[in-house]
């Protein structure tokens, strides 16, 4: 297996870009990634691109060749769709391709345009990540599905809306200095508690926003980095993926996400680390309860324990395990098909020391990214380490 390095990362500002096309958003992210990587486009051997709802939002299927054009590369290009984990699985494919020695340079990432649609159509679009026959036809929305998990969690382990409000407040605070974040403003616990309900027990500030944006990453083999004198100190040392039953009702436990646990087990084994070695994490907090479920599946907390982590300061910027220093999906934004790539970009910046929140993790060596699809019927986990 070849050591895989992150040579360059590129993001658009996450937010509302009504006048820009998807190809332009991914083009910008790729441009920044190539500037950061100092790798010639002609060396790219593969493009792995994530997108979820482009056919609905932009009437554009077959996006991979379009994005290869936008990035200025001519190589095998494939779109990956795994709902909100689309870019995570795209990144995983690029990492595995380079690790296997099948390519020295791979471009990965993703793009989503969502604000082109009115709220009810976005709600419809996101809901198709659930089981159409047995969930969507029963009125389950995407926030509604996570609300079902939150109710089940509270019933099984305790916890409260206020605990979740602390997760929102933490992630909003983290987003303030992040130049790529959609919401760079603090939200207090009281403000989150007073927000209108979306799907009880989840209220407005428990939910991530609707976001346009793109992410791009240039992965190279360590040999390529050395031969070309690249500054690529961060390595992807572990990758794992898990799958669960599609419909929430078919899961063994309604408040656990074993697909993420399976992905983490595989990624940790791949990297030769365990949960105790991890210094910081970017996790898939599409809803505040999702961060809680992620932290337990990643092995940082026992089931029922992560609900208090933000409130008790364990996962805040100055805590023992800072979580979502980027602002997370919650405040940085969640352009669905780009998110998994954005997490890798943010972790890389945090570990390299050039993220505005790197000051909180000056000695960090090991970071974990957790990207989930649907109600975590799909999960991808990556381990990143400072290799130089």
């Amino acid at each position: 297996m070849t050591d895989v390095r992150v040579a360059g990362v590129g993001l658009t500002r996450f937010g509302t870009h009504p006048d820009r096309t998807g190809r332009d958003l991914f083009g910008e992210a790729a441009l920044r990634a190539f500037e950061d990587a100092d790798v010639p486009r002609g060396d790219v051997e593969e493009l792995n691109y994530g997108n979820f709802m482009g056919a609905l939002a932009e009437h554009q299927g077959h996006q991979a060749p379009l994005m290869a054009e936008a990035a200025g590369v001519r190589c095998p290009a494939t779109r990956y769709e795994s709902a909100c984990a689309s870019a995570g699985v795209a990144v995983r494919e690029a990492v595995r391709t380079v690790a296997a020695g099948d390519a020295d340079v791979a471009l990965a990432g993703g793009m989503e345009r969502m604000t082109t649609l009115p709220t009810d159509e976005v709600t419809d679009g996101l809901a198709i990540a659930a089981d159409d026959l047995f969930e969507v036809r029963a009125g389950v929305t995407f926030p509604g599905a996570y609300a079902l998990m939150a109710t089940a969690y509270f019933d099984a382990y305790g916890g409260s809306r206020e605990d979740l409000a602390h997760v929102a407040a933490k992630n909003h605070a983290n987003a303030v200095p992040n130049e790529y974040a959609q919401y760079r403003r603090e939200v207090s616990v009281a403000e989150a508690m007073d927000a209108p309900p979306i799907a009880e027990p989840l209220h407005l500030y428990d939910a991530c926003p609707v976001t346009d944006g793109a992410s791009a990453l240039v992965f190279v083999s360590a040999e390529y980095a050395a031969e070309n004198g690249l500054d690529a100190p961060v390595a992807v040392t572990g990758t794992g993926q898990g799958t669960d039953r599609m419909a929430l009702a078919d899961r063994d436990h309604l408040a656990r996400t074993p697909a993420a646990a399976d992905a983490a087990t595989a990624a940790y084994a791949d990297a030769g680390v365990d949960a105790a070695d991890v210094d910081l994490a970017e996790v898939h907090d599409c809803f505040t309860i999702a961060e809680v479920l992620a932290l337990e599946s990643l092995g940082f907390f026992e089931p029922g324990e992560a609900i208090a982590a933000a409130r008790e300061g364990e996962t805040t910027a100055d805590g023992d395990l800072p979580v979502n220093l980027s602002g997370g999906l919650k405040a940085k934004g969640h352009p669905v098909g780009a998110t998994g790539g954005s997490q890798i970009a943010e972790l890389t910046r945090l570990l390299r020391g050039d993220h505005p929140n790197s000051e909180h993790v000056p000695d960090a060596d090991v970071g974990v990214a957790h990207n989930a699809g649907g109600t975590v019927a799909s999960a991808v986990v990556h381990v990143l380490e400072v290799a130089e």
């Binding site: 419809d124 047995f134 029963a138 009125g139 998990m149 089940a152 009880e200 039953r245 009702a249 078919d250």
Partner: protein, 138 residues
């Protein structure tokens, strides 16, 4: 060909046929030899891949395992909002549906509440859906 027709459109493989059975008070799940229950259409057990499955009745009542009152609906459910969704254990498997009580007040399901399963219509267009109604246990 008759075998193919049965396998493709038979009463144990179609969602609409399953809803018909549920509406007739004959709700069922498909149960494999290892005891895994699932809802049609299924060619194999989704848990273990077993191809042998028997048609077993769903309980007519069950308990709410989790619920949510949805205030921001998908477009097709706009006329129903706010409405409650619930996941209910009906014996061989759980089922997800809309929780409806008789009054005009906003629905307020509780975990462990006893409910009966039925089929009713979506407000906007009459599309059939699974509903749960509170059972008076007094």
């Amino acid at each position: 060909m008759s075998d193919e027709t049965e396998r493709g459109d038979g009463p144990e493989t179609g969602y609409d046929a399953w809803l018909d059975a549920l509406a007739a008070g004959d709700g069922f799940a498909l149960v494999c030899p290892n005891g895994h229950g699932s809802l049609p259409p299924r060619r194999v057990c989704p848990e273990c891949g077993a191809t042998d499955r028997s048609r077993e009745p769903l309980a007519e009542t069950g308990t709410v395992e989790t619920h949510s009152v949805v205030h921001v609906p998908a477009a097709d459910f706009a006329a129903d909002a706010p409405y409650a969704t619930a996941v209910v254990d009906l014996g061989p498997t759980r089922v997800t549906g809309i929780y409806r009580d008789a009054g005009d007040a906003a629905p307020a399901p509780r975990v462990d509440e006893r409910v009966a399963v039925d089929v009713a219509e979506r407000a906007m267009d009459g599309e059939r859906l699974v509903v749960f109604r509170p059972v008076d246990t007094a």
